[in-house]
Every structure is written in C-alpha cells, then in structure tokens.
C-alpha cells in the first residue's frame, strides 16, 4: 500500500524537527501508540493498538529512523507484529522550509501487510491510514498552537 501526502505546519523547520524527534511527544500525538521506548539513539520499541475496519489488534514492534539529514529529511522504518498480522512500512519524510514560520512535510512510502489484516479489511486500510495521518497532523498542529501560546 502506498503512503503519501503533504501537510503544511505553522512552525519553523528546526522546531518541527525537534518535535518529531521527541518520543514523549510522539506517543502523545500519534494515534494508537501507547508506548514508545527508546532502544538506542534512533530506534524505539513501540506498542500500539489500532482498529482497521473489522479487525482490531495490539501491535508490538520497532520503529527506527535512518538516513537522518537534519533538519531536512529522514527515513522512517516501522515493523509491527500482532496476532492479527504484521505491518512493515518504509517512509521517506522530507521537511521543506517555506519561510514565514511555515514548514511543508512531504511523506512518501510503502506499507506491506500480512496475516488477517491483509485479507480481511485491506480494502479499508488506506482509508484508515489517511484518517490516522490526519489525526497525527491535527494533533501536531495543536501542539504547535499550544507551544506558541506558552511562548507568547
């Protein structure tokens, strides 16, 4: 499954970079993630609960960042296992500085599923992914608003 999109955030690129490198914040804003434990500098153990159409599962696995090119881009590798199947995703994330305290995030990647989630409900997965992505960026927007409020 293709994962791609663009979102514009109202903060400087460097601020965004710091925010999305912060595991505590990520746990807070990423839908479904309940635990993110740092394994080493660029990899985490993640536990998440996600409902995809008719199937619901508790996923456990790894989340790692590679090819970091601060503050412009990185690759996000997610490998999650559960009783209802496994998900492996590789996503390239690009942060473009638009000036005027605006940053554009472009993400582009592929996710592969197996097991029950692959054969039951895969037709709704891209819809679920889009809605989770939207929730993520909405939450990130809110965090930025909140930060600005504190700063201001």
């Amino acid at each position: 499954m293709k994962l791609e999109g663009i979102h514009t955030l109202k903060a400087e690129r460097r601020v965004i970079w710091v925010m999305i490198m912060d595991p505590d914040l990520l746990v807070k804003i990423t839908p479904g993630i309940s635990e993110l434990v740092k394994k080493d500098e660029f990899s985490y153990e993640a536990i998440s609960e996600v409902k995809i159409g008719p199937v619901k599962g508790r996923f456990k696995g790894e989340l790692s960042l590679t090819e970091l090119n601060e503050p412009e881009s990185f690759n996000l590798k997610i490998s999650q296992n559960s009783k209802i199947g496994n998900v492996d995703a590789k996503i390239h994330i690009q942060l473009n500085d638009l000036g005027n305290e605006q940053t554009e995030i472009i993400f582009d990647g592929d996710a592969q599923m197996s097991g029950v989630i692959a054969r039951t409900g895969q037709r709704v997965v891209s819809g679920v992914a889009n809605s989770l992505t939207k929730q993520f960026f909405d939450a990130l927007d809110k965090e930025i608003e909140f930060m600005k409020g504190v700063d201001g």
């Binding site: 159409g53 008719p54 009783k83 496994n86 054969r119 039951t120 409900g121 895969q122």
Partner: protein, 787 residues
C-alpha cells in the same frame, strides 16, 4: 414401477431439512482432540527458526509438531503428469505436510498444534514464535516467467512447471490466419476464483491401537482416491488398514476432489498421540488453502473468411498453478482446456500453446467446469466480439459455423482438431430454442428503442460444449493420468428382495441417494422404498473414483446398470427353474418374471429368497444375488447448450443488472429433471458470479487481500433474476443410460454470455470496448464508458 425421467423428491432431504445431516465436523468420538494449524502470514520466506516451547507447555496442549518432526514423508502427490514439449518430465516439487525450511504461499502450514479443545489449540498456536526471513514473491503468472523473477522452487527455472501444445501445426494455423478476411483478437484474464463450498473442509484422524487400524473421516468428493494417495503415496500405511469415511458433504465444486495435507496430518498425528484428532478449517483457512480455480492469462486470435466462416484459432495461455501441484492441477489447463477449443464449430485449424507456472500463491486446480469454462469463455467472447466487429448477427455467425447435427449411432461422432471425438450433438437445436425463448427479434427492437431513451440494454450469447463423464482410463492414462477413471458398483439383493446399492461415486449435494435409487428401482421394477444407496465409505464400497467432472451418473450410474443387468440375468435363471420354463420364454416387467403368453409368474422377492434359500435351485448355479461391476467408459460425454443473458447497464454508475438468463442445455437423457434443473441453476449462478462479482485478489507481496466473506463478493439471492431453464435431449450413444452429465454445464456456459451482453450493450451505445476485466464491477464498466 417407472421412475426414470420423473422429478422424484429427494430421499436425502428428510435428514437435511431437519438438521440431522452428518457432516464431518458434526462427528464426535470419545477422546477426541482438536488440531489447529499455524500458517504462514508471508507468501515467500525462509524459516530461520521455530520456537514451540511456550506452546507446548500451554494449557490443554497435547502435542506440537513442526516440519522436521515428520521425517521421511515427502508430502502429498499430484495425480497427473504433463510433460514439457521437448519430452522432459514436468517439474514436480514436493508439497510437504508441514514446511521445513521455507514457506511458499500465505497459508502454507508451519506447525500443527493439538489440544483438548479447539480454543486451546488456537491459543497455543499464538505462542509459537517463527523467525521468518521475508523474501520477494512471484505473484503475477505473466511476470513470474520473466528472467530474474523470484523463484518459487529452485529447480523450476522461470517458475515454469511445464509447457504444452495441442492442435494443428502452428505453421498451418499461422498460414490460415494470414489468409483470413478478418481476425478478431483478444487479450484477457480469466480470473482466479475461490470455490467457497459453504461447509469448510474438515478431517478427523483416528488411529486405534487394538487392531492397528486407521479411520479418516473427511469432507471429500473422493474417498477411495484419498485413501489410495494417503496410503500408497504419502504415509506408506497398508491400504487395508485404513478406512476413509465421508458422510454428508456440504458442497465441493471441485475443491474437495483433492487429497489435502490436513488429511494426512491428522492420520499421522493420531498414531503419534494415540487419540483421535479433528481439524476443521476456519473460513479464512478455506480461502487460503482450498484449491482455487481458473487463473489464466490468454491471448487469442480467431480468423474468419469473407462469409464469416471460421478459418483458424490460435491461443497462447499462461496458467497459474500456485505454489504446489494440487491433485489434478496439471490436467486442468491442458487436457480439460485445450481439448475444448473446437467448441461447437467447424474451425479447421486450431493451435494452443500453454505455459503452466508456479507462483507464491495458493494452489489452483479443478473448480466447477475445470478448464472447460476457460475454453468456453475464450471461444464465446471471440465469437460475439467478431460478430460486433464484422457487423454480423452473433446468432447467425454461430449458426454458419456450427457442426451439423449427428446422433453418434447411425452418424459418426465428430473428430475435432484437438484430440476429442464428440459423441452426439444438435447444436442448432439448442440455439434455436434459446432464441425463441428469449424472443430475440423483439429484443433487438426493444434494445434500439430503449437506447433512444438513454437505457443501455445488451444481449450476450454463449453456445458451449463440454467433455465430461470423466473418463476412459486408457485415454486419460495415455494423457498422463496416474489413476484410472472408471467407476465401481455393487448391487446386493437381500433375501427379502430389498436392495442395497454401493457406488464409488460420492454425492456432495447432487442427490445420488435419489437418482441412483430411481435407476435401480426402475430397472428392477420395485418400489424405491426397497432400495438404498451406500456411498462415501471405503469399507462398504469396493472402490470408487468419486464425484466430479459430471461423471457420477454417466460412469457410476452405468456401473450400477451393469450390476442390475447381472442381477436380472441370474434372477431369470432362478425364475426359469421355478417356473419350469426356459429363460428365453420369460419376460421381466413390474418386478416379476412371467412366462410369455401365460399368467405364470414369479415375483422378484421370491426369486431373491430362492437365491439365498436354494433348496429348489438350478443345478450348478451359485447361491446369492449380489453383483459387483466396474464400468470404464469408452469416450467422454459431451453435453452442450445455448445460454443467453440480457443485461441493463446504468449509465451513471456502471452498475450491471442481469435482467434475464435463458439456458437451454442438452445433457442427454435425464433421470430426474428436478435435480438436473437444480444443477443448472447452481452452475449458472456460479458462472454469473465469475462474470459479475467474484475474483481472488493477491497483492504484489502475495497477500490474498479479499480472503473473507466481508471482502470476497459471494453471489447473493438478490444478485440474480429467476433463471429460465429448458432442455433438449440428444442421448449419449455410448453409455447404457444415454446420459451426459449436468453438474458443470451451467457454469461452463454462463460466464461469457453475461460479459458478451455487457459488451453488446456498450457497442450498441457507441462504446467500442473489446474487453472489460472480470468481475464486471460498476467501476470497471463505468470506466469503460468514460475513458
């Protein structure tokens, strides 16, 4: 008593409508344990390690087995060998009961967990840790044969199991095409289908130490062949120590012909744990492991002369076999497909070239029609399309190309260019009747008028032939079958004149217990109540080749008739003795022998009693009245028919509504018209399902992404109109009942009629679309109109 030709209500229904049927999962045995099979979530992966320790100590668990525990067993075999064009033997990789080093499709069996309850077995399977190294998968058969594609089996380069050809020399076909006035060509996919018998497969293995015997209860179409393969080819158990029993079977459609790994696993493991083991598939497992059907990628050309006469047909097909060779897989795209490319037509030059390909997907084998629907789809799509392209009437184009009627008795059979000799046929007859029934001329007028009102109506034709009544053993043996395809029957007359009939055919919904009893009661002139049919038990029935390929009545019924004839022949000797007459002076009718021209007679029951109480008895004649017979047909049987679909397309949404479906089939003589019509209805529905709704979808990583009833579009009651079904009768000249078989006809004929109707509607509305990929979803039809 006359029963043949009557719509007698079914005997088996009494138990089935009251919930008293006995399907395999209904069986309970003291000490029964339950199995769950852990299956691969990946299409292709190496197994680096399996940790079963947590599962083994889980609550209720009796045993956990992995592939390395099953030493020395290669796996389940295939029953048909097709050689490469150059004579090399096809690639025949092992299909292990449990994998050891690698998985080759999603659903491949990795571990067997046996516990006191099904839930405990399932819970424990969740605790098994398998370390997979995930690999790239070969999924699309057309891609799989390219250099550099991932290999399913190391020893099958380019994933090719075999290549194959049939027909006239390709040079002759090319030459005929070069001279053709018009060539219609079509590249298309005959998509993969999931059989979806509503009863999931189930098997119980029961080893009993006290007599060293095994019993396999299994939901199968083919109990004896299953026993033979299980004993002689998989586990090496002496055949006389194994009983295979199959009571009621909840549909099969081909998918339960085959010997599956789970059957061997429960038998093998039952001896290991010395307790009976039941395994029943969950629907998800059925989707992943019941052998699928169809899955051809085809490119075809049909050439015509100026008058519209067919001059040549050239076909290139890639057939997907999946990851392992299922029991009859090699036969389906070859001898059950290529041989049908003559259709009902006099095409003088025909050639098919075929590649059979392994992919990292579930196995593909016979599914209702098996090869013949693919051949019919190919021909009938080409014919309708040619008619549109040449601006000819599709019915007329067929008529001028039909083989003229022949009865196969005083007129010879028709020798095709592709190996078969048709038995008897009247192809104009079925088409004319179907046209009349549908009101063809009026329809064309209505079509034009409705187009003016913005309504898209279409009519589609399909005139098909099939080869069934499978099959003459010597012929199929020469073609690579590793089994004979005869049938056995025993008719045992009890001393009181009641009759037990034993057949190697095995009903999974066809109503053998009624039809076969009709035949016997009719021939013996006794009430049906006095006759019972025994089937599906290898201890009761001498041997059998099962029910598939529309063979039960044509082959199994013929074996029964042979036994009945022997009963009557011996009975006449006893009757003659008792009546003090000669055998030649006796008539047999209405259950008694009568001395011609007198009122002296003896009833069937009295003769039976005499056979078992032979006090006053012909000298030298053996007591008893009990005869076994084997019948090996001399040819296939060739049912045929004309199917017509009328559809309406909603222009805004692309939704196709099937308004009418007319089927005129000729299945030879008919024993029970009600049952035959039921077979046609069901077959037609499955064919329409392929055209409009169904299709297994694998993604590029080899995941079956519609492997559930929420995702796979099973046909529902409101997807269909009432079917309009009729018959003509052209008896089969070479079997004693004159029957041809009705199980697959509906499915073989119906699919192209529906697709042709949609294409017709589009052309008449100005959208000159040659093909829309099946199933014809609203999206695909809409796209065809809006591109």
């Amino acid at each position: 008593m006359s029963y043949i030709g009557k719509s007698v209500k079914r005997i088996e229904d009494k138990r089935l409508v009251t919930g008293k049927g006995k399907y395999t999962d209904d069986i309970k045995i003291p000490g029964l344990t339950h199995a769950y099979i852990l299956r691969s979530p990946y299409a292709s992966a190496n197994i680096l390690g399996i940790d079963t320790s947590a599962a083994k100590s889980a609550e209720g668990v009796i045993s956990v087995f992995v592939g390395t525990d099953i030493e020395g067993i290669r796996g389940v075999p295939t029953g048909w060998q097709v050689n490469f064009k150059n004579g090399d033997t096809m690639k025949e990789p092992a299909h292990p009961l449990l994998v050891t080093d690698a998985v080759r499709h999603v659903g491949d069996a990795v571990a067997l967990v046996i516990a006191e309850t099904k839930e405990q077995a399932r819970d424990a399977a969740d605790l098994i840790d398998v370390d997979y190294e995930v690999l790239e998968a070969a999924v699309d058969p057309a891609e799989a044969i390219k250099d550099g594609a991932p290999l399913v089996h190391e020893d099958a380069p380019n994933n090719i199991c075999f290549d194959w050809e049939l027909g006239n020399p390709v040079s002759e076909v090319d030459a005929a095409l070069a001279k053709a006035h018009h060539i219609t060509s079509l590249d298309f996919i005959n998509q993969r289908l999931v059989p979806n018998a509503i009863e999931p497969r189930s098997a119980i293995g029961h080893y009993e130490e006290h007599n060293d015997h095994y019993t396999l209860y299994t939901s199968t179409q083919n109990p004896h062949l299953t026993r033979l393969l299980l004993c002689a080819f998989v586990l090496g158990i002496p055949e006389h120590k194994v009983r295979v029993v199959s009571f009621d079977v909840g549909g099969g459609f081909g998918s339960k012909i085959f010997h599956y790994t789970e059957e061997a696993l429960v038998i093998w493991a039952s001896r290991k744990i010395n307790r009976p083991i039941k395994w029943t598939a969950e629907r998800s497992e059925s989707f992943l492991t019941d052998a699928h059907g169809r899955d051809h990628v085809t490119s075809a050309k049909m050439g015509f002369d100026k008058a519209g006469k067919m001059v040549a047909l050239k076909v290139d097909t890639i057939a997907n076999l999946g990851a392992y060779l299922s029991t009859f897989a090699p036969a389906v795209p070859t001898w059950l497909h290529g041989t049908l490319l003559q259709g009902l037509y006099t095409t003088p030059k025909i050639h098919i070239d075929l590649k059979a390909v392994f992919t990292h997907t579930n196995a593909v084998d016979a599914y209702r029609g098996a090869g013949r629907p693919e051949a019919t789809y190919l021909l009938e799509r080409l014919v309708d399309l040619a008619a549109l392209e040449m601006n000819m009437d599709p019915a007329e184009l067929r008529r001028i190309n039909f083989i003229p009627a022949f009865n196969g008795v005083t007129e010879p059979g028709y020798q095709t260019q592709v190996a078969l000799q048709y038995d008897s046929g009247n192809y104009h007859g079925v088409l004319d009747r179907a046209l009349e029934k549908v009101g063809y001329k009026d329809f064309r007028k209505a079509q034009q008028e409705s187009l003016a009102k913005g309504k898209l109506l279409g009519i589609g034709f399909s005139t098909y032939i099939e080869a069934c009544g499978i099959a003459p053993s010597a012929v199929v043996g020469a073609l690579g079958a590793r089994a004979g395809l005869f049938e056995s029957a025993q008719v045992r007359v009890q001393p009181t004149g009641k009759v037990s009939v034993y057949t190697g055919s095995h009903s999974h919904g066809q109503g053998h217990e009624t039809t076969f009893v009709q035949v016997v009661a009719d021939k013996l002139g006794i009430p049906m109540e006095d006759v019972d049919l025994v089937h599906g038990d290898s201890d009761a029935v001498a041997f059998g080749m099962g029910t598939y390929g529309s063979r039960s009545l044509a082959v199994g019924g013929s074996a029964i008739v042979k036994s009945v004839e022997k009963i009557l022949e011996k009975g006449a000797k006893i009757a003659a003795h008792k009546l003090e007459a000669s055998v030649d002076d006796l008539d047999y009718a209405n259950g008694k022998w009568t001395v011609k021209g007198t009122d002296k007679s003896i009833a069937f029951g009295d003769v039976s009693l005499t056979a078992y109480v032979p006090h006053d008895y012909p000298q030298g004649l053996e007591p008893g009245l009990d005869f076994a017979s084997f019948y090996d047909p001399t040819n296939f049987t060739y049912p045929f028919g004309a199917h017509i679909a009328i559809v309406e397309i909603d222009k805004e949404t692309g939704k196709v509504t099937l308004q009418r479906f007319v089927a005129v089939d000729d299945v030879g003589n008919v024993i029970n018209p009600m049952i035959v019509e039921g077979q046609i209805h069901g077959g037609v529905a499955q064919g329409i399902g392929q055209a409009m709704l169904e299709g297994a979808v694998y993604d590029e990583s080899g995941q079956l992404i519609n492997g559930s009833y929420m995702d796979y579009a099973m046909p529902r009651a409101d997807d269909f109109p009432s079917f309009e079904v009729e018959r003509t009768v052209t008896p089969c000249p070479h079997n004693p009942l004159g029957v041809k078989g009705a199980g697959e006809a509906g499915t073989i004929g119906s699919t192209p009629a529906v697709v042709n109707a949609v294409i017709d509607a589009l052309w008449k509305a100005g959208f000159k679309v040659k093909d829309i990929k099946m199933p014809l979803t609203p999206e695909r039809v809409w796209t065809a109109m809006n591109n």
